[in-house]
Symmetry: C2
Subunit: 276 residues, 2 copies
């Protein structure tokens, strides 16, 4: 079935921008008997179904997630929707772990997932038994060994560009694991923690947590940077033991093209059929 790039006749499409603390949520996707971001949002507006830009995993956070949903052109009283009212009511209904920042009428051919140009995540690590302030602990992973910043960046730069990332993608997903990694760069911030910024056109399942785990092996001195190039070329899935936890990962941006290019962008993505 082709994805619908526009709402059905008689419906309007809305874009919703929101944030969440994923610490105690079981990821994005609805699941029976689990608290998930989609589950919490849809329970508050039971008539809607949300399509999201980045289907985050359990424990992962977002400061700038984007989704869309379709509503009948008028509310049940026959009145036009007020987006301010929708934001206010939704935030009153849902847990404070999730905050809706904005709801707007989407332009034609806006599809939160297929129209997106790129996603950016950050990954935070307190390395070398560096202490984490209790109030700031929720989005920082820890690693007991010291990590060398220049080795991390040398290893990370070897993954830039368009590659088949099968080594770092959980198997079983349909379609291609070819992605274009545009940025993967580490810095030490004011509190001396490490923060990686990672941008790609799209990511396959748990890809950021896999590539973080792999470059950490180089950063701590276990492997040389050449190892990254070798496992990328090899395409056989790396050990699960390298995967870093969802806790350190936050989606910070989803970019879309200008309104006139939304349709063309979605067409490209749909041909590949497995973007996220």
């Amino acid at each position: 079935m082709e994805p619908t790039l526009n709402p059905e006749s008689g419906f309007l499409r809305f874009r919703i921008d929101f944030s969440y603390d994923g610490t105690n949520l079981s990821g994005w996707a609805k699941q029976p008997d689990q608290r998930t971001v989609q589950g919490e949002l849809e329970a508050a507006r039971y008539e809607v179904e949300l399509v999201v830009a980045g289907r985050t995993d359990a424990g992962v956070h977002a400061t700038a997630q984007v989704a869309h949903f379709d509503l009948p052109e008028q509310d049940k009283y026959g009145k036009a929707w007020s987006v301010q009212d929708l934001v206010y009511r939704l935030n009153r209904m849902i847990t404070e772990e999730i905050r809706v920042k904005n709801i707007t009428l989407a332009p034609p051919f806006f599809h939160a997932r297929f129209s997106a140009l790129r996603r950016t995540y950050i990954y935070k690590i307190a390395d070398g038994q560096r202490q984490v302030e209790p109030l700031k602990r929720f989005d920082i992973a820890t690693w007991y060994r010291h990590l060398d910043l220049s080795r991390l960046n040398e290893a990370s730069s070897r993954l830039l560009g368009e590659h088949d990332f099968a080594t770092f993608c959980k198997p079983g997903g349909a379609g291609t694991s070819i992605r274009r990694l545009e940025k993967f760069h580490w810095e030490r911030t004011g509190d001396a923690n490490l923060v990686a910024t990672v941008t790609a056109d799209a990511f396959c399942y748990s890809m950021v947590r896999n590539i973080v785990g792999a470059v950490v092996c180089v950063g701590e001195g276990r492997f040389e940077p050449e190892w990254i190039s070798a496992i990328l070329a090899n395409k056989s899935r790396i050990s699960e033991s390298y995967v870093f936890p969802g806790r350190g990962l936050t989606l910070i941006s989803v970019e879309y093209p200008s309104d006139s290019e939304l349709e063309a962008r979605a067409a490209i993505t749909i041909r590949r059929r497995d973007e996220d």
Copy 2:
């Protein structure tokens, strides 16, 4: 009974610096069947008793709390204590809501509570239905009306100096409610939230949350700044309904005099006998 300014013969006094996220803790002081900061720390080192600089209330946080405890001169194997080892072991035992940053051998006459010169707290408010990022929500209180920054500061400045703060102190405490308020100033930070910095020689129970609640009445326009001077002079306890929640409050600094002045400072405080 006079407080002991030095440890008993055969004991050493240690200073401990630590932080905590008080969200799910019932304040500092040990209580049966409650998780408290003192309770969690003492349970990990059952032979010690902690004396703290600022006895924070339920929900209140600290990024720079100070306490002291006394230990026999040698450990049970007859060896000298390693403070690095004490920090490491303590952090392994306790909840990640509390982190011990440092333990040092205290100078003579160091008493975490009585030797302190001043305490500084911050209080954070997201006003006017401003949204709070879910990952940053733990130390921010909310207020539905917009608060005027200059009115907040005009009201707050009327409390500066040495006064009897009975209006803002929970009754029942022994001794004086005279305090010297050295700083009480509001700013809007980058995310547009309000942050008050509050410094005094010492605070009586729930005093910061009371004065914040009172100046908010001026900031939102309900009362004029003169009202603050009037209720301060009046000395009759203000309504409980003005008190702001512990959530927004964080202890960020405790200052001590130089080692040679610790004894004199403690003597002054003990004469007043009700500092905190």
